[in-house]
Structure formats: structure tokens, C-alpha cells
Amino acid sequence: MTAMQIFFLITGLVILGSALMVVTTRNLIHAALWLIVTLFGVAVLYAILNASFLAVVQVVVYIGAIAILFIFAVMLTRKEMRDRGPQLNTGWWLNAIIALLTFGGLFWMLQGWNGFSKTAADFPSGYDAVGQLGKALISPDAFVLPFEVASVLLLAALVGSVYLAFNRK
């Protein structure tokens, strides 16, 4: 077991545990905070793989913007922060069986995959990941069209939120 695998296992357990806490805790703000732990765990996964740019973007966008948006949304819409209903749906045992069957099927299918024993390849020294990403985002035979379409998508999101928030004007 290399150190990277140990780190990955610990991080994976943290992510799964906090994700479980997100859906089971009764207090909504606690759920948002556990979500932040999950998102931070994903950022740690990116860092383990040396994808520095993705790791900081994960923290900046997900934790710094989206999680704060979630917390604002919870505070905006809830007077009572605790969920008083029953924690389990009716017929939960059927859902549990289906989930277990799906997991078993996936597990069986992945057994033949040899990717589990590979480790991440190191970058060649002096490799400028962010620079390469930048070049790819602008070269006409790489990703320039998705780059520009992304800005149109963000514009659509902004216009949509204006419409939703200011319907009456």
C-alpha cells in the first residue's frame, strides 16, 4: 500500500461519511456544513492527484460560492431549521434492495477492470498544466467553441436568475 493509496482511502472514507451525514442529519445548517466537508474532501482528492488548478477551483467555486449560496437559500426559506418529519420513506426496504442490487452489479462489472492497480502518472518536470489548459481553451482545433459557449451559458444563467427574481417588474 503506497502512501497515495492510504491518503486516498482516508479521503474517500471522509467523503462518504460526510455525504451520509448530509442526508441523515436533521438540522439543515449542519447538513450544509457536512456538504462543505464533502466538497473539501473532493478538493483533497484533486490535490492528491497533483491537479492543483482543479483543487483550488473546487474550493473557490464550490465552497466559496455554491455552499454559501446553499446556506443563504436555507436561511431565506426556513424559519424552522430542523426537519420534523420521519427520516425514512415508506417502503424503504424496497429501495434498499434495489440499491444493493445496483451496487452488486457494478462491483461485478468492475472486477475485470485493471485500472485499480494503476497509480497516477507523474507529470514530466517543467510541465505547465495551467498553461497547457489555457492553450487548449483557445486553439481553434481544441476547445475554443466550448469556451465561448460557456460564457453564453453563464449569460443565460444570469438572465434566468434576473427573470426568476424580478418576475413582477
Partner: protein, 118 residues
Amino acid sequence: MQNDWLYIGLFFVIGLLIPVSALLASWIVSPKKPNPIKQSTYECGMETVGENWVQFKAQYYIFALVFLVFDVETVFLFPWAVSLGSLSLFAVIEGIIFILILIAGLVYAWRKGMLEWV
């Protein structure tokens, strides 16, 4: 396994330990005499009036939403900015188009009154 982030992880751990040790020192040394008056909520020295929940203005949410859109935009601009030194004018124009589309969005939100703090 030479990873920059290991150092940052160590920074995280020790950055967590030092405030915790300061708080621990305080907890060991300080007196503990809990008292219902001391622990009541602070409201300029008076008894609290009204319930302990305040209506959250929707405007906060709107600003967070606009911030989210522009945050993602600036994050997209970082790879562009890093590789700009070795690229042609065409690449600069593409980035400028990207920024202009989003400035159009900002102007639209401005004109629709979304950036007012009413």
C-alpha cells in the same frame, strides 16, 4: 512522491493545532462559573425583544447568485491569462469576447434593477 500539496496539508494541520492549543490554554486557565444571566443572548444590555430569528432579505441571495456567475467566469479566465504570453492576437480577441459577453450580462442585470439594495 513529490507533491506540493503535502506541504499545504502540513500547514493545514499545524494551522489547526496552534489556535486549538491557544483555546486549550485558555480553557485550562480560565475560571468556569456558568450563570444564566451571563449566558443570555446579548442585546445591548437589555432583555431580548422579539423572537430570535430575523427575516432574511432576498437581496443577499441575489448578490450571491450574481457573484457565482462572475466567479466561474473569472476562474475560466485564469488559464487564458497564464498562456497569454505566448499566444497570438486571435487568442486575446477570443478572451475579450468572453469578457464582453459577461459584461453584457452585468449591464442587463444592472438595468433590470437587480443590483439595487432595496
